[in-house]
Amino acid sequence: MKVSYRWLRALAPELRATPEELAERLAELGFPVEAREDLAEGLEGLVVGRVLRVREHPNADRLRLCDVDPGNGETVQVVCGAPVIVEGGLYPFAPVGSTLPGGMELRKAKIRGETSHGMLCSEKELGLGPDAGGIMELEGELEPGLSLAEGLGLNDVRLDVEVTPNRPDLLSHRGVTREVAPGGEAGLALPDIPGEDPDAARFVDQVDAVLGSREASGDGITVRIEAPERCGAYLGLVVRGVRVGPSPGWLQTRLRAAGARPINNVVDATNYVLLELGHPLHAFDLDRIRDRTIVVRRADEGETIRTLDGAERALTPEMLAICDAERPVAVAGVMGGEDSEVDEGTSDVLLECALFTPGPIRATRKALGLSTDASYRFERGVDPEGLREAILRAARVIQATAGGEVQGPIVEVRAKPFSRTEVTLRPSRVESVLGVPFSGAELASLLEPLGFQVPGLPSESREKALRVQVPGFRSWDVSREVDLIEEVARTHGYDAFPDTLGAYRPGVVPDDPLFELEDALRARLVAQGLLEAHTLAFAPEGEVELLNPISAEEGYLRRWLLPALLGRVEYNLARGNRDVRLFELGTTFRSGRAGELPRESIHLGLVLHGRRRPRHWSHADEPVEVWDLKGLLEEVVATLATDRWRVISAAEAPDGSGALPASLMDEDVSLAVVDEDGRPVGRAGRIGAGHLDLPPWAGAVWGAEVALPATPAARREVRYVPLSTHPPVDRDLALLVPCTLPVAHVLELMKREGGEHLADLQVFDLYEGEGVPEGKRSVAVRLRFQAPDRTLNDQEVDARVDHLDRQLHHEMGVAIRGRDD
C-alpha cells in the first residue's frame, strides 16, 4: 500500500512524526515500509515564478523575452520559446545555478544576443509528465519565490507500506493513520474537501437511505440482490448533472502521491475514497443503465462483458455480475464494463458501494487473471460498517470537483444489518499466552485506540473477563480471544516483554533415526574427501508430474539423484575443475497409489572424476578407478546397514532395480548393492559416455546411487574382543583361480573353512600371464592365524592350510601354487 505522508497528516492533525519516524513506528507495529520516496526530489532550487511582462525577441520570431519575478525582489529576463505565456501567470522557474531533474545545470546564457537568467519549465523538463509542448501553468494562489515542490504539493513523501493479508483495514490512508496517530481512533478526522460548498456538504451528509433486504428503490433507481450469499450489501446513490473533466490540481496531486493515475473528476473521486477509506466504489453512467435497475446476480453461462481495460471477457455462473435490466455492466468487485463507463458525455452518475464475499471474488479474479485495486480489497474484506460514509464522501468529492447535485436517498439493499461481534477476553488467558499479567483496565487502554470498544467501566481486576466489541473494519481478522491477545501484545510492544529463559520440559519425540543415518553417511563421505552437493528435486522426466512447473525441464519430480549430479560433473569440468568428487543426500519420488501421496525415498548419490589422490611431486597421477568406487560403496553400505547389505557385481544382481539408474552405467563395469533379502537397493559403475557431455580431455566418470532404508537398521553394538598376547602365524598362499570364478566366492569359502583361529585374510596380489595357466589368475592371499590363549604351533596351522587346500580344490577346483597335489 502506497501512502502519502501528507494525506496521513491531513487525517490526523495531531500526528507530528517525520516520515522516518513513521516508517520506524509502522515497522514496530508489524508493517515495514519497503520504500520511502521523496516526491520533491530533483526539484531543489526551483521556485514559483510570476511572469510580469512578455516581449518579442528582437532577433528571433519564435522566441520571446519574459520578465520574471522569482520572489527575491529582483526581476530577471528569461528567453522562452513557448507559444503561450500569460502575463501575470505563475510558472515553474529554474534560476541560474539550479539543476533540472534531468541533471542540466542552468547558467546565464546569451540566446540570439539576449541574456537569459534561467528557464521557465515544461512538465517534461521537470520529470512530472509527458507534456513537453508548453510551459506548465501553476494553479492556486501561490507566492512567487515559493519552492516549486511546495507549490505543486510535492513536498510529500510516499511510503510503500507492506500490509499483511490479514489486515485489509490498512489498505487505506485512514487505516494506516489509525495505527500511528496519537490517541488512535479518537485522533482521526476526515480532511476538508478543497473548494467544497459547506451547505452542499451538509445537505449530502444528511441524505437518507431507503432500505430493503432483497430490493429497494428510490431517486429513480432500483437495486435488487439475487445472490445474497455473494453480496452482503449494495448501496446506490445518484449524482445528477455533473460536468466530467480533469480533476483539480489538489486531487490529482493527492492521487499521484499515493501512486494512482488521475483519469477524470468522477473516477478520481471514487479512487480518492478508495485510497482514503478503503472502499472500492464504482461510478456508472446512469443513462446507460437500462431501466435504471441494478441486479446483483450470478452471470449466466455464455454472458460476456467488455471490461474497462477493453478486454472481452466470458463470464460463468461461478462469477458474480452487476447487471442492469438486461446485461452485465460490471464484474462484481473486480472491474466495471466499458459500456456504462463515465466519460465526457456523462451527466448523471450512479455510484456503487457494496460488500462482496471475499472467497468468490478471489476465485473470479484468478479465473479472469484480472487483479485490481478493488478485487485486492474485496478478497481481503472491506469494512461492512463504512459503506454509507464512503458513498456520501464520494458524492461530496464529485460535487466539489464535477458539480452536480445529490438528491438522495441512498438505495441500500442488505440482507441483514451489520452488528458488531463481541469477543470475550480473559486477563488470565492473556497472561497464559503472553507470560505477563495485564489488568482489565490495561487491556482496555491497549485496545480502544485501535477502535475496539470495551463497554462498562474498565476494571483493575485481573479476573474479570472483558467483553470487547469488534469494529467492522477489524471484523475480518478479529473474531476470537487469541486475535485480541495479539493486538494486546502488538500495542504493548514486543520489545516490552522480557526474554529471560525459564525452565522447560525436554520433548518426548526421539531424534529421527533417518537424520542420524544421514549424519553418519555425510561424516563418512566427507572424511573420504567428497564434497556434498545440493540439487533440486525437479527433473525433465519422472513418475510424478507437476501441474504448474517453472519450466518444461523441471516438469517432474526426480526418481534418481544421479542425472542431476552428472550435470554438476559437466558443469565443473566445463570450468576446469578436473577432480570432481561429489555426493548428495536427497529425496526421490515415485508415484503413489491413486489419490495418495507420492512415495518418497531418500537416496545417496555420488560421482567421481579425475585423480585418485591429489597431485603430489612424489608420485605420478593415477585416475580414479573401479576399486575406488567399490571401496566407497562398501563404506557406504557398512554405514547404512551394518554389514547386512552387500556390494556385488551387477551381473549377479537380480532384476527389479527399476528404481535405480542402471541404464546410465556401462554394463561391463557395474556394481549392485543388495539388501539382506537380496533385493537390489543400489547401483554403481562407470557412466556411459553417451549420458555425458564432457570436454575431450575428460576421463571416466564413476557414479553410484543407493536408496537409504526407510527405517534404518539399529546401530551395531560394539563389544570389546580381548587382544591376544600370543604371536600370530602368517601364511602366504598363491591361489590359481579360474577366471570364470568370482574371487569373492573363494574368499568366502576360505573364511568359512579357515577355522576359529583365522584372524585375518587379505588379498595382496593379483597376477595373470606368464607362469600362470591359461584361463586362470593367481590370487595371492595372506592368512593370519592367532589364538587368544596360546601360541599356535606349526602343525595345527599347516593342518588348517591343508584343509583349505582340499576344500578349495574339492569345491571350486582352485589349487594352491607350489603345492603338490
Binding site: E28, N166, R480, G507, F515, G529, R613
Partner: protein, 344 residues
C-alpha cells in the same frame, strides 16, 4: 625330534635377536656389522646353525631349512628397510631433503554450506532440548494449508506461490506441515525441529530458487508463553551470532501463529583493522505462538496447552553468515565454492 625342535627354537631366538640388533643399529657401519654377525656366509650365526643340520634325521632337514630361509629373507628385508631409513636420515641431516616441499594430503571433503548451517542450528537447539522430526516433501493441501489455519480461498494461501502436482497434491511450501504431523503422533511436551526442503513457484534469481531449505521449530507444553518464545529465540541468536548480538521482535502475520513475529538480529562484526561494528538489522526468521486452531486441528487441547513455533531459511542465513551474494551458488555446486566450506 628334540634336536629338531631345539634347532628351530634356536633359529627363532636368533631371529628375535637379529631384528632387535637391526633396529638398534645407528649407522650404516653398525648395520653392516649386524649383517655379518647373523647372515655372514662363513662366520654368520645362522650359517652356524645350518651347519648342524647334518646331525638331523634326513626327513627333518627340509623343515629346518625352510625355517632358516624364512628367517633369512625376513632379516634381509629388515636390513634393507633400516638402511633406507638411515640413508634418508643422513640426507636430511646434510640438507638434501627439502622439508619445505608440501606434504602428502588427501582430498578435502566437506558438507554443503547449507547443511553446515542446518547442523549448527540443530546443534544449538539440541542444547535447548529439541530433537529432529521429518515429514514428506510432497504434501496434501490439508497439511500444507488447512490444518495450519490457512483456508484455501484466503489470500494468505497466495503468499507463497505453491507448486502443485497432477492429482491434487502439492510440494510443501514450508516445513510447517511437520508441526501438525508431529502433534498428531505425540502428546506434549513436544520440542522438535524439522529441517527440510520446501518448494515455491519462484524463478531463479539472487535471492530466490524454486526449492530451498527451511528449518521449522515447535514447542508445545503446558505453560509455554510468548516470553518463552522470545527467550528461546534470543538465546539461540546469541549462541549462533555471538554474545554481543541484539535481537528484535517485530509483529508480523502468519496464519498458523498468533501473535506472530519477525525476528531480526544486529550482529557485532570485527573489521579488518580489529575494531568492531554493528551490522544493520538482519531478518532471520518468522515465529509466533501456535494458533489455537492449529493445535485443535492436530488434536491438542488449546485451553490446556500452548506452544510456539518458528521457521528460518538456512540458505539465507548462510548468505548473511558467510557473505555469499547469490543463492544460486548453492545449486551450481562448483567445487571451488564447496571447498570453501570444507570441514578442515
Amino acid at each position: 625330534m628334540t634336536q629338531n625342535g631345539s634347532l628351530v627354537d634356536e633359529l627363532q631366538r636368533l631371529e628375535a635377536q637379529a631384528l632387535t640388533a637391526v633396529e638398534e643399529a645407528a649407522s650404516a657401519d653398525a648395520l653392516e656389522e649386524v649383517r655379518i654377525t647373523f647372515l655372514g656366509r662363513k662366520e654368520g650365526r645362522i650359517s652356524g646353525i645350518l651347519r648342524r643340520v647334518g646331525e638331523l634325521e634326513p626327513e627333518e632337514r627340509p623343515r629346518v631349512g625352510a625355517e632358516a630361509n624364512r628367517i633369512k629373507s625376513r632379516l634381509q628385508e629388515a636390513l634393507d628397510q633400516r638402511q633406507a631409513a638411515l640413508e634418508q636420515a643422513s640426507r636430511s641431516d646434510s640438507g638434501e631433503l627439502d622439508l619445505t616441499l608440501p606434504g602428502r594430503r588427501g582430498w578435502q571433503g566437506g558438507r554443503h554450506p547449507v547443511t553446515r548451517v542446518v547442523d549448527e542450528l540443530v546443534e544449538i537447539f539440541r542444547g535447548l532440548g529439541f530433537t529432529r522430526a521429518r515429514g514428506p516433501e510432497a504434501e496434501t493441501e490439508w497439511y500444507n494449508f488447512e490444518a495450519l489455519n490457512t483456508p484455501l480461498d484466503h489470500p494468505a494461501a497466495d503468499e507463497q506461490d505453491t507448486l502443485y502436482l497432477k492429482g491434487g497434491h502439492l510440494l510443501r511450501s514450508h516445513t510447517s506441515p511437520v508441526q501438525v504431523r508431529v502433534m498428531e503422533k505425540h502428546e506434549p511436551p513436544i520440542r522438535v525441529l524439522a529441517p527440510g526442503m520446501v518448494y515455491r513457484r519462484d524463478s531463479y534469481d539472487a535471492t530466490h530458487t524454486p526449492g530451498f531449505a527451511q528449518l521449522e521449530g515447535l514447542a508445545v507444553d503446558e505453560g509455554i508463553t510468548f516470553v518463552d518464545l522470545k527467550a528461546t529465540l534470543a538465546e539461540f541468536a546469541r549462541r549462533y551470532w555471538g554474545p554481543g548480538t541484539r535481537v528484535r521482535f517485530r509483529p508480523s502475520f502468519f496464519p498458523f501463529t498468533e501473535p506472530s513475529a519477525e525476528v531480526d538480529v544486529k550482529r557485532v562484526v570485527r573489521r579488518a583493522d580489529g575494531t568492531e561494528e554493528e551490522t544493520d538489522w538482519l531478518e532471520i526468521m518468522g515465529a509466533g505462538m501456535v494458533d489455537p486452531a492449529v493445535l485443535e486441528a492436530a488434536g491438542i487441547d488449546p485451553e490446556r496447552y500452548t506452544g510456539f513455533a518458528f521457521g528460518m531459511g538456512p540458505g539465507r542465513i548462510g548468505l548473511l553468515k558467510y557473505g555469499i551474494p547469490d543463492l544460486r551458488l548453492y545449486l551450481d555446486n562448483d567445487i571451488r565454492f564447496l571447498q570453501q566450506f570444507s570441514d578442515r
